[in-house]
Symmetry: C2
DNA sequence: AATAAGTTTCACTTATTACTGAAACTTTCA
DNA sequence: TGAAAGTTTCAGTAATAAGTGAAACTTATT
């Protein structure tokens, strides 16, 4: 396989993977592009390379900056902004995990908390409902705690975690 | 909050959570409904309760069965099929994790493997590309291994994992 | 302060994914 | 075996999410 082909396939696959994980295709692709690029890129260059519109590029670059995995870079004497991706894969994954917990898990927990304390009418249905929502709440809370523990092992967290789980 | 309201809100939220995690809304809702239901339900009842069409109900029930988190149940003397959800939240989560790894992570790994062994033309771009794809491949592989380790602690895996990570 | 280069926004279009419902098929039992 | 009850499929439709591009806005420079 040639470099150009490999690159295209990589951008393509990473984009698809991204959309399965709640990050939209373009956002994942821009991020992938910046990661493999030896120099920082301007918005123009991103648009050109991925054949996307200005609006799309702008929105998604901003999104990536919000997620904290892409940074702006200013070159001396140049007006134009350049973009760089966080080069550390570990820290990237950590940031994504934190962000998803904040955006999805935490809100779900709040709803489960509210819902499990409904006015119990002591019917069979109500009993079962109470039991299950309680269980789900506890489970989600635990899973979230686990995620936090894993990602808080600052450096090389995956390796460290695997080591711990070896026993 | 009343039972009926709590139930509606729960079904609603669980559906939304599902779609963020790659399980479509209806599928997540059917699953939620079956989980909180004290009796097994027929397809008719599911359709009725969630106000969805026969086709939709059929497709998604089948999907849930494929995921291995819902089972068919036959009542003696009755022709109709009834559906029950796996009641164990731990085993449910484990099954979802296994399935997602199989469907998403493994294929992505295969592509990364192919792509990182492209014909190197020794340009700066190619060098960087090789380095990054290698890093990403190793990372994804490690993460997947970790997931496997976690879920292989058969019983109460979340609790067990947290205990291990406590140190 | 005028202008030109750069950047962002947003109403609209396109693409993707999910859902409907009628028709086809299957099973059971009289 | 045929008719009724039950189940599945799938072509068409609807809902949702993503992307476009021109216009508006910002900033730096003279």
């Amino acid at each position: 396989m040639e470099f150009t082909e490999a690159k295209a396939q990589f951008l393509q696959t990473w984009g698809a993977l991204g959309s399965q994980w709640g990050i939209n295709k373009t956002m994942a692709q821009i991020h992938a592009l910046l990661m493999i690029s030896p120099e920082s890129l301007s918005m123009e260059e991103v648009m050109e390379e991925l054949k996307i519109s200005r609006g799309n590029a702008s929105m998604n670059l901003r999104g990536l900056i919000d997620w904290g995995i892409v940074y702006k870079e200013y070159k001396p004497g140049e007006r134009r902004e350049y973009f760089v991706a966080d080069q550390d894969v570990d820290s990237l994954a950590r940031k994504i995990a934190i962000e998803r917990s904040k955006r999805e898990v935490k809100p779900a927990l709040r709803v489960l908390e509210g819902v499990k304390n409904f006015d119990d009418d002591s019917s069979k249905e109500a009993q079962k409902f109470k039991k299950k929502t309680q269980e789900l709440h506890d489970f989600v809370e635990k899973a979230d705690t686990m995620l936090e523990k894993i990602i808080n092992q600052k450096e090389n967290w995956i390796t460290k975690t695997i080591m711990k789980l070896m026993t």
